[in-house]
């Protein structure tokens, strides 16, 4: 262990670390512009300079590159250090007079007056420094006639962080230094927009003075990554926690956009993770789990409101789907619970259109069952959050459920408007000055008996529930049936509502049909109980209608062997007869139907029994 003192504070640490690290750990602040967790120390900005006394000698050294030594006495804010830092700020400010960061630093270290007013030479980086004026926060005219460059010269302090990060960490190498001395600058090769740049934004995010203009490194605008859970109302990073209540609540990496999966570089998140929990080498795995029962709870999807083009979803920015509004009113949502339209305004009037993609022969004929209640909830929350005028356009209010009708009554008392009628269209075509700049909802008010035009700022589409897009694949996988609308079919609507036609496969939730959360939870409980019955019993009952071979009559033709879909029929070479494994037989009877010698029977469905049935049904 090594003992040293920083500003008189005794510190013991292991060898090999730098003075900057140790000082930061000890809570001593050393200003620096060019240190980054993912980059090795470089010492380019020199702000971290400290005064070191060791073995009777004193020297000035950058703390980021200085390894700790036995008996060091370090001063981070001595008069000598402060003087040097002041000069450094002055010099950088002379180069980059517009940089906010440097101006702030200058204020902090108390630069009274910048003495480097002008740099000689025609092509000097600074023509109009006036840094001293800037310190006094006076506006500065932007220098004209700058040559094409990709990094704003007025802000670049030539620390090289972007170059090192792009090259060493991101493994791209789109940026580099050019020129020497006064003409030194950061740019792309030949000052052309780089074709290697992947617009990851690392250079601009690491730049201490915010001098990188990303669009000049590569002309393509950076592509935002829309957050799936926020329905595109906010963006996310390539590493993200899917949503606040995610289980397990751990971040995931989006392989499609993570730089590491493109170039093998970056891994900045790994460097930052204290727990060392991030592993870029993880692969997707398909796990096979053997189970005896399956509960299908694959849920639903909401109707895509783009299908109803007359409601203007995706055309007018003021038209939202109900799920989007759900995120807007949510305290953990993209706006922190503040209802803001896409243009930043707070809506003064909101129209909620019910039955979008429900009870409609053009889309889905069924009632989605939950929309009335969630529309009422959104109406209540929107009123609470914005105080706006809220209109509900409904066909029928369907509020069956405990406390639901009372909630509807409460909203009526709160002053939410209810207009009975299916909305014809949403348009921005104004007919009166009142309607200018608003969305107009055209609807036949069937209670008042005339067509109304209602201008609103925001339209909410209460989208209905649909089967999942891949419901048919899931159905085939588990040998279930679907109703005509595509929801999974229960064995019997009253007697076996959570069972399917396949034993051991149960249904829960909206995959079986639209239902709300209380109903889903109740049904899931029933499905779990049904599954437990099978698990608890520990054995399964065999089908009673298995097939068997009449050995005396079997001719050994083997024609039944390939027919069995469960490979329950084997051929006994010794006896030259077919044999049926009754544990494997599911009792379809295909073998019995196709045995040429009639030597396979099926219990409960014997040939004789069927013949008698035929006799029976034809006798009259």
């Amino acid at each position: 262990m090594i003992k040293l003192a920083i500003n008189g504070k005794a510190i013991t640490t292991e060898p090999g670390r730098t003075v900057l690290e140790v000082a930061r750990e000890a809570g001593i602040d050393i200003p620096t512009l060019c240190s980054h967790e993912s980059l090795p120390p470089y010492g380019s900005c020199r702000f971290c300079i400290v005064e070191v006394a060791q073995r009777g000698r004193t020297r000035m050294q950058t703390s980021c590159t200085l390894p700790v030594g036995e008996g060091m006495e370090v001063q981070t804010h001595s008069a000598r250090v402060l003087k040097i830092r002041t000069i450094l700020v002055e010099l950088m400010l002379a180069r980059c007079p517009e940089s906010e960061v440097l101006r702030e630093m200058a204020r902090e270290v108390g630069v009274p007056h910048c003495r480097f007013e002008r740099v000689r030479g025609e092509k000097s980086p600074c023509h109009h420094c006036k840094a001293c004026a800037l310190v006094a926060e006076m506006p500065l005219q932007t220098p004209d006639g700058l040559p094409s460059t990709f990094v704003s010269r007025s802000g670049c302090i030539l620390c090289g962080m972007c170059v090192r990060l792009c090259d060493d960490v991101m493994k791209i190498g789109a940026l580099g230094f050019e020129g020497r001395g006064m003409r030194r600058r950061v740019t792309t090769p030949f000052r052309e927009p780089s074709e290697f740049c992947i617009t990851c934004g690392a250079c601009s995010s690491v730049c201490p003075t915010g001098a990188i203009e990303l669009l000049r490194v590569r002309p393509q605008a950076p592509r935002p990554i829309p957050a799936e859970f926020e329905l595109g109302l906010a963006n996310r990073k390539p590493i993200y926690i899917p949503f606040p209540q995610a289980v397990p609540r751990v971040p995931v990496i989006d392989k499609e956009v993570c730089v590491n999966f493109m170039t093998g570089g970056c891994k900045i998140c790994e460097d930052n993770c204290q727990a060392k929990a991030i592993d870029h080498g993880q692969q997707d795995r398909i796990q096979e789990v053997e189970v005896g029962t399956v509960i299908v709870a694959t849920g639903f999807k909401t109707v895509d409101p783009r299908r109803m083009a007359y409601y203007g979803y995706g055309v007018y920015p003021g038209v939202y789907s109900a799920l989007e509004v759900e995120r807007l009113v949510n305290a953990s949502g993209p706006t922190g619970g503040e209802v803001r339209l896409r243009d930043g305004r707070t809506p003064k009037s909101v129209g909620i259109i019910h039955c979008v993609g429900s009870r409609d022969k053009k889309t889905n004929r069924w009632c989605s069952r939950v929309c009335c209640m969630y529309s009422l909830k959104l109406a209540h929350l929107l009123l609470e959050h914005t105080g706006a005028e809220i209109y509900n356009f409904y066909i029928d209010m369907r509020t069956p459920g405990k406390g639901y009708e009372e909630f509807y009554d409460k909203l009526l008392e709160e002053g939410v408007q209810f207009i009975r009628g299916r909305v014809g269209e949403v348009t921005d075509w104004a007919m009166t000055p009142d309607e200018e700049g608003k969305l107009v909802i055209r609807v036949e008010d069937t209670l008042a008996g005339f067509v109304r035009r209602i201008p609103v700022d925001m339209v909410v589409l209460s989208t209905g529930l649909e089967p999942q897009a891949d419901a048919q694949e899931v159905r085939r996988l588990l040998n279930m049936s679907c109703g005509s609308e595509g929801f999974f079919l229960e064995r019997h609507p009253k007697l076996a509502p959570v069972n399917t036609f396949t034993d051991g496969v149960f249904l829960a939730g909206a995959c079986q049909g639209p239902r709300d959360i209380p109903d889903t939870v109740a049904q899931a409980g029933a499905a779990a109980a049904e599954a437990m019955v099978l698990i608890d019993k520990g054995f399964t009952e065999q089908e009673p209608n298995t097939a068997y071979v009449l050995e005396n009559e079997c001719s050994g033709c083997k024609s039944c062997v390939p027919l069995c879909p469960y490979s329950a029929i084997t051929f006994d070479e010794a006896k030259q007869k077919a044999a049926i494994n009754e544990a494997l037989c599911k009792g379809c009877g295909t073998c019995a139907a196709s045995c040429p010698s009639g030597s396979i029977g099926q219990r409960l469905f014997e040939d004789q029994e069927v013949f008698s049935e035929i006799d029976g049904v034809l006798a009259d």
């Binding site: 879909p565 069927v610 035929i614």
Partner: protein, 172 residues
């Protein structure tokens, strides 16, 4: 079927009799659904439940026709949806062969029909049954028992003739 015996009518009008073999998982359930949904369809169909359309032995179909049915309907799951993986395909195979046999027996192919009806298609049960009933009604009675009896008679007469022919030279 819905016969309230009325002494006045001496010969009731002919009504087609159709035997249906429905698979337990799809078509039989669909017929059940049709009933639960209160769909009305022709009452000429008498349903026999089997576990799978793959259990339908061609003998069953022939037997039904021989015993006096005017048509036969076989209902199975849609291809790819069979509860027993592929029983319906096996039925399809047999059905194609049986159709040729029936044609050679002089039975119109429209009388015997194979349909894929899923558990959700109660409406389709109604449609298919009504269609088939109508088609069979147009074709008229099959009356295979009578035909069989006629054929038997013909054969017996032939036999008699042959025997008489054999006996005559012997007598001569």
């Amino acid at each position: 079927m819905n016969a309230i015996p009325s002494p006045a009518s001496t010969t009731p009008p002919w009504r087609p009799r159709i035997v249906a073999f429905f698979c337990n998982w799809c078509t039989y359930t669909a017929a059940d659904l049709a009933g639960v949904s209160r769909l009305k369809y022709a009452s000429n169909v008498r349903v026999i439940r089997l576990m799978c359309s793959g259990r339908v032995d061609p003998q069953f179909i022939v037997e039904a026709l021989v015993k006096g049915a005017d048509g036969v309907l076989i209902g199975g799951c849609h291809p790819g949806d069979c509860h027993y993986v592929e029983g319906n395909y096996k039925m399809l195979r047999r059905f194609r062969m049986l159709q040729r046999l029936l044609q050679s027996m002089g039975i119109e192919p429209e009388r015997v029909r194979l349909e894929w009806i899923s558990a959700a298609e109660g409406e389709k049960v109604k449609r298919v049954v009504n269609d088939l009933t109508e088609a069979v009604r147009k074709l008229g009675p099959l009356d295979l028992p009578q035909k069989a009896a006629d054929w038997d008679k013909e054969l017996a007469e032939l036999e008699e003739k042959i025997q008489a022919g054999e006996a005559a030279p012997a007598a001569a």
